[in-house]
């Protein structure tokens, strides 16, 4: 099964590109570490997004040229970034006031599991001995207006990431609005997972087989 998910559906870049289509001009956006970061590369021409990084910057720009980084100008992933025109610096309490207070329009997060109720697990496998580390994920998913997940549809071993109930420790309860995977775009609705669209060349049954809860078709 894992071989199949690699050869059909969207690549990581295509997933990011698909998600980027859905972000309106002028949105304030927080992109998580990993695949979410790719979204910034695919924003359609003519739209300006304002990127928030929770360590204290609105108006974050792309990475600087190699060797031109400033150790005191970094993003939440601790990578060097730049500053776009119209930016502002602020401290952590103000930064999370933006998040908790519902001022950020959208955040895009990675996921280990998302349940049909929109519960998210993305910070811990709950293994004993692992160093627990949560960062800002719980604040983001509790406070941001819309929370999108971008993730491979299944784990590397082929297990569904979209599940009936999360088995990993939760990051947030009922917080996810929409999921972008290699196979499909799926909304979390009061009735459960609802298909928005299939990736090119992927059919409904193929996605349903790889989803751990019922998937409501588009037409319903």
């Amino acid at each position: 099964m894992s071989e199949q998910t690699k050869v059909i559906g969207r690549t990581r870049e295509e997933m990011a590109q698909r998600l980027a289509q859905d972000i309106p001009n002028g949105s304030y956006v927080n992109l998580g570490i990993g695949i979410p970061e790719l979204v910034a590369r695919f924003v359609p021409e003519g739209r300006t997004l304002i990127y928030h990084t929770e360590n204290g910057l609105l108006g974050m720009g792309p990475s600087p040229e190699e060797g031109k980084g400033d150790p005191e100008l970094i993003n939440a992933g601790k990578r060097h970034v730049t500053v776009n025109p119209g930016a502002a610096f602020f401290h952590h309490a103000d930064s999370f006031a933006m998040i908790r207070g519902g001022h950020i329009d959208l955040c895009v997060l990675g996921a280990m599991q998302v349940s049909k109720a929109g519960d998210l697990a993305n910070w811990s496998t709950g293994e004993p001995g692992a160093i627990p580390a949560v960062g800002g994920a719980m604040d983001l998913c509790a406070g941001v207006k819309s929370v999108f997940v971008i993730t491979q549809h299944c784990t590397k071993t082929g297990e569904p990431k979209l599940v009936d109930e999360c088995t990993y420790p939760l990051t947030g309860l009922g917080v996810i609005n929409r999921i972008y995977t290699d196979l499909a775009v799926i909304d979390v609705t009061p009735e459960g997972f609802k298909l928005v669209e299939l990736s090119p060349g992927v059919d409904f049954d193929y996605v349903q087989e790889r989803t751990g809860a019922p998937l409501i078709p588009v037409s319903d």
Binding site: N25, G26, Y28, G46, T48, I50, H52, L57, L58, G59, V83, P85, G86, A87, A88, F89, F90, A93, D94, F96, A97, M98, I99, R100, G101, G102, H103, I104, G143
Partner: protein
Amino acid sequence: MINKKVASAADAVRDVFDGATVMIGGFGEAGSPIELIHALIDQGAKDLTVVSNNTGSGEVGLAALLKAERVSKIICSFPRTANSTVFPDLYRSGKTELELVPQGTLAERIRAGGAGIPGFYTPAAVGTPLADGKESREFDGKEYLLERGLKADFALIKGQAADTHGNIVYNKTARNFGPPMAMAAKVAIVQVNKVVEAGEMDPEVVVTPGIFVSRVVEVTEPAFESELVAAGASYP
């Protein structure tokens, strides 16, 4: 391309609706957005709940909005005004309800509303009549009151300068309630002496980041309450 600049104060307050909660910045005349308030009087919205530290003076600005009987309730720390009888008459006649809040509690309730904090505990007003009906609780042997975060539909604020992304800097003690009110309002409207392009404001000195601001409007030479009152002005 993002541009939060609107053409006029009238345009900036166009969608304030009857029954809206409106935060109005300023401490005394410093930071009072007189031109936005006058535009709101012209616009006609009524039955407003206003959150503001004072009740204005003379018959201009906030006092004029009160006099026009657009405000059914005011949440305020110091509604006593030296040179106006506008609010006392409204209060005594029952036309405007007053929720009196200690000044620091008012500021913190506004910030909490903007920061997604529905409630917090404060030592201010414990044991006083302003604690009546409020929940209290001990932490580490000391008593505190539970206070609720305060949000608004709109905020009218006066800044010194803005950029087109809505980043704001203020002038001296006119800063006062502007930053927390911008955080707490769904639509924060800021009048400034000057609007500059994005990129022309140093990101290190921005006081209110643009994410908290929906509209900016240029009022190049704003009036001051004390000057208008001294000149015997009234609005409209």
